[in-house]
Amino acid sequence: MRKSLTAKAIVPVALTVTGFATVCSLLLFSYTKNHLIKDEIMRELCMASTVVKATRHAMLQDDRETLHYMIKNIGENKGVERIRIFNKKGLIMFSSHQEEISNIIDKSAPGCVECHAQEDPLTALGPMDQARRFKDLSGKHLIAVTTPIYNEPSCFTAACHAHTEDQQVLGILDIAVSEEHLQGALKTLFRQLIGFWVMVVILSVGGLAVLLQRNVLLPIKQLIGFNFAISQGNLEQSPPEGVDEVELLGRSFQNMALKLHQKSKEVEELRNKLDELEKHGTGPKDSDSSANPD
């Protein structure tokens, strides 16, 4: 019976608490992960915008050597995996990886297809659409953003480039940053959530089990022992104390047992009297021969 009581009380609560805590932990992790990734993308977009502004003067002066060294130096920063500038035709003009220079990027490649999917390519994208997450050939997780280099009056009026006024986008800056520190932060967050989940489940289920044991199961066990003692004839034992309802039940059992014992004694006495009367011949059996035996 105790096992059944324990199971009926603890199993539903354990299932509910564990399940709900799991759902909330998973959703919280997913929510925080999305926010961390969005923040990382915004930070990278800001960096890309800074690079575009920083290289603007060198571009206007057609100072390709300075531009080359700027790209090379930025590419050597910790966390920056790749930085490159390619023109409208997809030709890589500058890159932190020398071997890429003069290669042509396919318009259907990730990072390009977002704008070039349609016949008329898009000239602007939302911040999250400018970013993409992928694994490079060495298995490293990267976040890359593409930022367009827009045509401006100082560009199409400068002496160096042959840009026309109607050209909206002159080129693209593509920068890829390692996700290593982001993945590290996510792993730490995951471990902390697991720890919190374990504590919540243990405290709630364990606490319930302890309270149930102390306030319900133990008094019932004592009540069972008390009732067994009463059934064996030990009527002097006092009922278990501690929980009002159990004590009340114990006293009721004791009163019931005492009354039953008393009634049994009365019946026994009456039986004995009846036997004596029958023995001396004055009982109902000997009523016909009531004459003096002499």
Binding site: T16, G19, F20, T22, V23, L26, L27, Y31
Partner: protein
Amino acid sequence: MNDLDRRREMILEKISDLHALSRKGLWGLALFVAISTLAAYFRNFNLMAAVSPEVRDFLGKPPSSEMISIALVVYSFSALILILARMSADKENYRGWAHLGYLSGFYLFYFVSHALQENFWAVFAAGLTILGLEYYNVWSYSVDAIKKEKQLLSQVGKKSPPSIS
């Protein structure tokens, strides 16, 4: 004699119905696992990329994954409270089929929002908890009810007159 036999048959039928009731919960769980397997298979599929821009414009912007997650938390909480309330009132009706529908809806919403990859396990955990609790409710009710019916059956068996040899 006829009354006793009839009574016995009724009790046996009741026991059979109770067994079927307790199995409903398992069917519900099995169906949910099947739906989840399907959802897991398609979780990386980008529905928006597969449809034309005109259809995308017609469908409009999908709901944000944060709103769907809030809805999932609220739904899970209220579903669990309602099941626990029905358990305390000792109600035996199985409501798992409705929850199957709701949970499938959540898979669909996350799929359309392209957020099923990140939130699949949350929906799965919610479904296992809710349907598991529904199953436990009908199972524990059925076990107790079957026990009572078997006691009645044994009493009916004792009342039967001995056979004439």
